[in-house]
């Protein structure tokens, strides 16, 4: 048996029964990373020494009989989540040597359960992209086909889970960055409700949209991680002062009678036939189990990509103004004046896509354009939220494709930013409306590439989307990546 292919809860059982040690589990993953990651390039930094020390500590906790759900479980962390004393690069030359002086709150919570962190995973630079090809360091490949992208921006995390180079991983999702790579890599990815998980220590991209979540082998494992990282945080004023339920509580309950909305615009032109058919087939399966499919509409979807990019880029252009090369980050060797030093540092440190977003954000916010772009985008945000509210008045969950296509070739689309942006059509409205959503595999195209479907829930109702995803996963035969 290959222990790296196990689910988290199976590892938990084996660890607690002493059928395997935390060190053996950690070594199995590190050996696999050593064998495979040269081809896959999912990790920017592998933290073998930290992992070994954590495994030793975890074993003591297990031996004392006080293990938590994640004690001794080897996890990977997206490289935009701050880790005390361990490089956090955001896959940017700007932060190539940045060593955070503190842990993100999610890391404090995971460390409190004595997880084993295997390393930091690659991503699109500053989480801006959907291919992981804008990474300054590791342009991650898809575990199902090394000639294709893993999606993004959490492409390293999704590929690492898909190739069993970690038990599960943390990602972040601003416009689909957990769900779309999970779809491309044939794994499950959960974007929680905005405010469910603290953003303290997550390098800011678009603060009103960013949310940390989990990528794992299935919905149940995603829920186990969400249980660990959720909750109010003193350091994040947008984290919710709400009780954290057990997100696994509804797993196994019947989905009969569940009302599933199918908004027609998500299945229209622009969605590949294979993708549409696979998601519709899943809808029919739910119906066969007693769920009720509800036809509905989201008329504003056609404006969603524009609204998202205007809002996200406006926030990014402000958030990224902190990178001046002086306090931390890349510092140019050129520049005799304060202004020249900052301009040179930023021009050398940021990649092309990040620069484009800064330009777009400045455009949307600049005098004379603000009302036409940023103001209109904010109005659309309200309209999209209202349309979601209206759909949820009459249903429990919404089912959509996660992406219009399966993973594409590593050299496709990359030189056409406008085309890349439009590919986010299926995911961005969830962030705009602050909703939770989970992507899980529902089929494979003719070439064997995974297709993902997204289940969107009501605010704070992650438990129901986990229940629905788990029900489908239990009968769906997954084809593992062979690498």
């Amino acid at each position: 048996m290959d222990i790296t292919s196990l689910k988290i809860r199976d590892m938990r059982t084996m660890l607690d029964k002493k059928e395997i040690s935390a060190k053996e589990l950690t070594d199995a993953y590190l050996a696999r990373i050593n064998d495979i990651d040269g081809k896959l390039e999912s990790y920017i930094t592998v933290t073998a020494d930290v992992a070994h020390a954590a495994a030793e500590k975890a074993q003591k906790v297990i031996d004392s009989g006080e293990a938590s759900a994640l004690t001794g479980i080897p996890l990977a962390v997206k490289d935009n989540i701050c880790t005390d004393g361990i490089k956090t690069t955001c896959a940017s030359k700007m932060l190539e040597d940045f060593v955070p002086p503190y842990n993100a709150t999610v890391m404090e919570k995971l460390n409190a359960q004595d997880i084993v962190m295997l390393g930091k995973t690659s991503m699109d630079e500053f989480a801006m992209g959907g291919s992981t090809q804008t990474s300054a360091f590791k342009k991650t490949k898809n575990p199902y086909d090394l000639g294709r992208v893993p999606g993004g921006s959490s492409g390293g995390s999704a590929a690492a889970v898909g190739a069993s180079l970690c038990a599960a991983a943390l990602g972040s999702d601003t416009g689909g960055s957990i769900r779309q790579p999970s779809s491309f890599c044939g794994v499950t990815g959960l974007k929680p409700t905005y405010g469910r998980v603290s953003r303290y220590g997550l390098v800011a991209f678009a603060s009103s949209l960013d949310q940390i979540g989990s990528i794992a082998k299935d919905a149940h494992d995603c829920a186990v991680i969400l249980n660990a990282v959720s909750g109010y945080d003193y350091h994040d004023g947008t984290s919710a002062k709400k009780d954290v339920p057990d997100f696994t509580a509804k797993i196994g309950q019947s989905i009969s009678g569940m009302k599933i909305a199918v908004p027609k615009e998500f299945y229209a032109e622009g969605i590949d036939t294979d993708v549409r058919e696979a998601v519709m087939k899943a809808a029919k399966w739910y119906e066969s189990q007693g769920a009720v499919l509800v036809d509905c509409s989201m008329p504003s979807l056609k404006y969603a990509v524009a609204a998202y990019y205007l809002i996200a880029s406006a926030e990014a252009s402000s958030n990224l103004s902190r990178y001046d090369g002086i306090k931390y980050g890349h510092r140019s060797e050129k520049g005799d004046s304060y202004n020249d030093l900052i301009c040179n540092s930023r021009s050398e440190g940021f990649g092309d896509e990040v620069k484009r977003r800064i330009l777009l954000g400045n455009y949307a916010l600049s005098s004379g354009y603000y009302d036409a772009y940023y103001g209109k985008a904010m109005a659309l945000k309200q309209r999209i939220r209202e349309e979601y509210d209206s759909i949820f008045n009459n249903c429990d969950i919404i089912l959509t494709p996660t992406a219009p296509t399966v993973a594409y070739g590593v050299n496709e689309n990359i030189s056409d930013p406008a085309k890349m942006y439009q590919a986010d059509i299926c995911t961005v409205t969830v962030n705009i409306a602050s909703l939770p959503a989970i992507s899980t595999p529902c089929g494979y195209d003719k070439k064997g590439m995974p297709i993902g479907m997204s289940i969107i829930g009501k605010h704070w109702d992650e438990a129901t989307i986990i229940q629905a995803a788990d029900a489908y996963e239990k009968q769906f035969e997954r084809v593992p990546a062979v690498i």
Partner: protein, 92 residues
């Protein structure tokens, strides 16, 4: 988008571009703005009072003194430091 506008936006963002980079950025921005312009066809107005009605805000923290990070640890990430952040001379 014309070169003058890109030059203006890059100045706002404190970014330098070579002439070739500027032209490429202008081309990219033109196709990106085409997508953004789709929102011009809908007549809709932002209403601040309706905003964030379903986002949970936990309110502001109390204004209390707390320990801050040790100076030494913070300065480790500054390339050029002499127990303080060093910048080019700004006052003659």
């Amino acid at each position: 988008m014309d070169l003058e506008m890109v030059r203006y936006l890059s100045k706002l963002g404190k970014l330098n571009f070579t002439d070739d980079e500027l032209k490429k950025a202008a081309d990219d921005m033109t196709s990106i703005i085409e997508i953004m312009d789709t929102i011009k066809e809908i007549d809709i107005v932002y209403e601040p009072i309706k905003d964030n009605h379903n986002v949970y805000l936990s309110g502001l923290r109390k204004d209390e003194p707390m320990d801050s990070f040790p100076t030494e640890k913070i300065l480790k990430n500054a390339v050029n430091s002499e127990n303080c952040f060093v910048v080019p001379k700004v006052v003659e």
